[in-house]
Amino acid sequence: MRARSFLIIGGLGTALAGNPVAAADANHGKALYQACVACHSEKPEAIGPSLKGVVGRKAAALEDFRYSAPMRRANLTWDEANLRAYILDPQATVKGNRMPFGGLRDPGDVDDVVAYLKTLQ
């Protein structure tokens, strides 16, 4: 799992270069979020659920998305702390969920993505 996460980070290499270490940067989060857009969009054929308004939403809340059973049972609210934990290590946070993503390893990147998610209303 660790090695796989490493590869994913490698795949985002250019986006990560020059990442500032200061406070959460929603713009940088938006750049990182491009890796999420392949699945998470508002399009009807989208593979993942829409993340519009995800901050503060209950997990598995969208009517039109077929969530995995572990996600439905998770009984989570996507507050910032839960989102952070989930993006850092999806399988550790909701074991058996079906999102094919190994997680972002840099906590700074995670903060930036969460900062960007807050802008999606």
Partner: protein, 591 residues
């Protein structure tokens, strides 16, 4: 009696990569297009989702996504005096069915052919002399040169977001890319996939031997990519479930991930699934295909769909079958060399491989992508001198892993029992320590390798099966032996704990082990109707409103996986249709 439907501007037979590309280009030009797909619809969201899609048994072993041989298959014989028998279980090749076709379950290896592959006969005759090519080797030039197709290769690579590294940018050779490739105008749209341990071993071995290693061009995304259609693909998760599977992470280019979401939104396009095309309605006098007859496989009802334009984008065998049964063009006869349909059928010379084992290295073969390899092209095509070798052509050689799945990937050293306690011990010991170096060899046309219709066996619709008369020939066997020698050298240079001997196919063609789904030829493109089935724009000589797509166009098979060229030809033909044919319907090349 078939129900007559209202005429449309164009009908696509098959909604795989070529059907999707053609339909997209034609609808953009304002044409009303109907796509007929014999199989079901398949979407990434509903069909390729975790955890179901990572099922080695269902998809890889039981072949969930492929053509059902109980409905339709081909027959095979090795030579004309033999009686052909039907292939009742897919093995050697795996034709797709359903929306996306094989483009949904391919590995993603996406090549351009070498410049010399495009004008093969001319090139070999000018380098080795007019008589160097044996009479039975019926190879031909593509009518499209590399330069003609360069912008269209580029378009397909951009559609798919190919991960790779250029080795020849506008004539400038770049170390680390493929220095043997033809000049490209642009760098690959995505950087190469991550370097694996196997890849780095190959890089070093190649460098030590003076060869030129480069990352294989891959339709597996090294990073998230948004294509010119505005569709975003995700970064590959290296899960090793590409070939035989749909992609769970939207990270492999397929019609589903690169075109269909946009095409299906277009009001000019209509998709009909379970629409199994039975025959083309051909007007020989007018030299037009007037309509397409198909069966709705859910109800058994027959429909006749008239169309101004017919785009034949089925698999190689079905392209041949539909043209042959309609009587468009003359059947090729190996005795006289006359006729063109079924001529120059070629396959791929694979099975050239060596596995090396490293006791002290952890390879992690499951961290893989379909086209994840470190390659050399030093022994491909005519990149090396063939004088005195007794054969032409060569192979790409690759090291890496496309998967490390539990059922089909069980590397063990030679001499290990095939089952039982000793096998179990060996498979556990070596699974994570084995590195494979493999080769994919070209297959040059031979007078006696061809396709026609079987006199005995019929498919579910009552049509004759396509009959393959095919075997590996001297050229193939000599080439494979030569390549095996190169593989042995590479293996030795890696200094493994255990080194096997490189295998090469020296016997008859066998349909059982998987080799490749790169069947080519049968409706070849050429410069005149006496020697080819379609012209340079993939337009049938015998019917000017029929355009044929796919690898059935190839005069012979280069070592390269065909999809890159198939995509380039689709864009090339689409442009000819929208800019030339639509304005002035008729033959685009005088016969």
């Amino acid at each position: 009696m078939a129900t007559m439907l209202k005429e449309v501007d164009a009908v696509c037979i098959g909604v795989g990569f070529t059907g999707s590309i053609l339909a997209r280009e034609l609808t953009k030009a304002g044409l009303k297009v109907v796509g007929l797909e014999r199989g079901p619809n398949r979407t990434s969201r509903d069909d390729f989702a975790l955890p179901n899609v990572r099922d080695d048994l269902k998809y890889a072993v039981r072949q969930e996504l492929f053509q059902d041989t109980q409905t339709e298959t081909v027959t095979l014989r090795h030579s004309t005096p033999e009686t052909a028998l039907p292939i009742r279980r897919l093995g050697s090749f795996l034709p797709g069915t359903g929306v996306g076709g094989a483009g949904a379950h391919w590995n993603g290896v996406t090549w351009r052919l070498l410049e010399s592959d495009h004008n093969l006969r001319t090139h070999l005759e000018s380098r080795y002399g007019k008589t160097a090519v044996a009479a039975e080797m019926t190879i031909a030039d593509f009518p499209q040169s590399y330069t003609d197709l360069e912008p269209y290769y580029d378009r397909f690579e951009k559609l798919c977001g190919i991960s790779g590294k250029a080795g020849n940018l506008r004539g400038q050779k770049i170390e680390g890319g493929n220095v043997f490739e033809g000049p490209r105008q642009n760098e690959y749209p995505n950087k190469p996939l991550a370097l694996t341990l196997a890849g780095s071993l190959m890089q070093k071995a190649a460098r030590d031997l003076g060869y030129h290693a480069f990352p294989a061009p891959a339709a597996n995304m090294s990073a998230a990519y948004t294509n010119p259609e505005g569709l975003t693909l995700g970064a590959c998760e290296y899960c090793g479930h590409c070939e035989r599977f749909g992609c769970e992470a939207n990270a492999k280019s397929s019609p589903q991930s690169t075109i269909l979401p946009v095409l299906l939104q277009d009001k000019n396009f209509e998709l009909r699934t379970y629409a199994y095309v039975k025959e083309l309605v051909y007007d020989k006098q007018a030299k037009k295909v007037k309509a397409v007859r198909y069966v709705d496989t859910r109800s058994g009802e027959e429909f006749e769909q008239p169309a101004q334009l017919v785009l034949l984008g089925a698999y190689v065998f079905n392209n041949v079958l539909l043209m042959r049964t309609a009587g468009i063009g003359e059947q090729y006869d190996p005795a006289t060399g006359k006729g063109t349909i079924g001529k120059n059928y070629c396959y791929q010379v694979s099975g050239n491989a060596v596995t090396v084992f490293f006791e002290d290295k952890e390879v992690n073969p499951f961290m893989a992508a379909g086209a994840h390899g470190m390659n050399i092209d030093d022994f491909n095509g005519d990149n090396f001198d063939h004088a005195g070798l007794g054969f032409f052509g060569g192979a790409w050689i690759s090291c890496g892993s496309s998967n490390g799945r539990p059922i089909l990937t069980r590397p063990v050293p030679a001499g290990t029992p095939r089952w039982g306690r000793e096998w179990k011990k060996a498979t556990a010991k070596w699974y994570n320590h084995a590195v494979n170096i493999g080769a994919s060899g070209c297959n040059y046309a031979h007078r006696e390798n061809y396709l026609d219709l079987d006199p005995t066996y019929k498919d579910a619709l009552g049509r004759p099966l396509v009959r393959m008369t095919y075997n590996f020939r001297d050229n193939d066997k000599k080439m494979a032996l030569y390549i095996a020698g190169v593989l042995d050298k590479l293996a030795t240079a890696m200094k493994p704990t255990i080194q096997g001997k490189a295998s090469s196919r020296t016997g008859d063609y066998n349909v059982v082990p998987y080799q490749s789904t790169h069947n080519t030829g049968g409706t070849m493109t050429g410069t005149d109707p006496q020697s080819s089935v379609v012209n340079r724009y993939c337009q049938a000589w015998g019917a000017d409103n029929l355009f044929v797509m796919g690898a059935s166009l190839f005069p012979q098979n280069a070592s390269y996986n065909p999809t890159g060229l198939v995509g380039a030809l689709a864009y090339y033909a689409a442009e000819a249709i929208t800019t030339k044919y639509v304005k002035n319907p008729g033959p685009l090349v005088p016969a």
